[in-house]
Symmetry: C2
Subunit: 194 residues, 2 copies
């Protein structure tokens, strides 16, 4: 909510339509004319709220990766216990599943999203970098390769699993709970690597 509630309410409508169309058709195949038509306004109106097409995506990206940064910041200040790891997992799953429209949009437009989001210089590699950091918080960097791999696989797989099952189950809340449970279970440090 930090940046989202800025300016008029039209701004939010533009963002919503943009997410929808960018997801369906891709960033480049969606023209500003199309977005404007869907909102019954003109292209020029969009330029009052956003200074460019890229700026629309940038506003979305900023809000979204901010959530991960918040999670990382929080987690960094916590003791490295099993309970902390479980809580990281819980929050991570919540971000992925609740913001899934934006997440899916970014997922489908990685190439486009990476060109921006950071102005000019920043080669942020949006998720890769943050995923590595989170991996390091679930399994210490000096842990065995197998252990770090497990953490990376689980974090990366959660979003895929969500997208894969989301429309296959009757109760999505139940699915979220199950994903958290499975995620926590898979990142425990049990089995001796035979």
């Amino acid at each position: 909510m930090s940046e989202a509630a800025r300016g008029s309410e039209t701004r939010a409508r533009i963002q919503a339509v943009a997410v929808e169309l960018f997801t369906e058709q891709g960033y480049d195949k969606t023209s500003l004319r199309e977005i404007a038509e869907r909102l019954d306004v003109t292209k020029a109106a969009l330029y009052y709220h956003f200074k460019s097409k890229e700026d629309i995506v940038a506003s979305l990206v900023e809000d979204y990766v901010g959530q991960f940064d918040d999670l990382i910041a929080w987690a960094t200040g916590q003791p490295r216990t099993a309970q902390t790891r479980a809580e990281i997992m819980r929050r991570y799953v919540t971000i992925v599943t609740e913001g899934h429209e934006v997440f899916r949009m970014l997922h489908q437009n990685q190439a486009a999203a990476q060109s921006m989001a950071g102005g000019k210089g920043r080669r942020t590699e949006l998720f890769k970098e943050r995923l590595r950091t989170l991996t390091g918080l679930l399994a210490e960097p000096d842990a065995s390769l197998a252990e770090r791999l497990r953490a990376a696989i689980v974090l990366g797989g959660i979003s895929v699993a969500w997208m894969s099952f989301e429309d296959q189950v009757p109760d999505q809340d139940e699915l979220v709970t199950a994903i958290i449970e499975t995620g926590v279970e898979l990142t425990r440090h049990p089995v001796a690597t035979s």
Copy 2:
């Protein structure tokens, strides 16, 4: 290799450059002019080998998803044993890691890739569909939700983990082996869901 070795050798060079540029900059931001320049030929020359820009991607997609289809076809004819599951994992990891240039390119251009690949009608949902099928082969559809989730998370997470670690370790073969091991381990059916 089924379709790859078609026509002149220039065709393959075009494909190689296309993968590279599509990955770096995205499908839409890469023009045929750019590809042609890199090969020291002209745009028109490309049109001798491919009937359109989309056709270049289509040729790539076809070859790549074919590998997954082959895996699925093979796995479907096997007995559902632990060894079969391990072998599925092994082959899956091999496809993901060996074809990682193409994989990464498709990953970065999902939106573009989904519009094509199947001519006009087919809404193949390239990976989602196939991932579901593979999930069903690792954990029977009547297995518990937790068990199916585990399979989906692991399959989905493998590619993420690969991309995350690929440039972080000295020996990539070792990494592949470790991923296979971890994948097999995570999809075993051990822990009683507390």
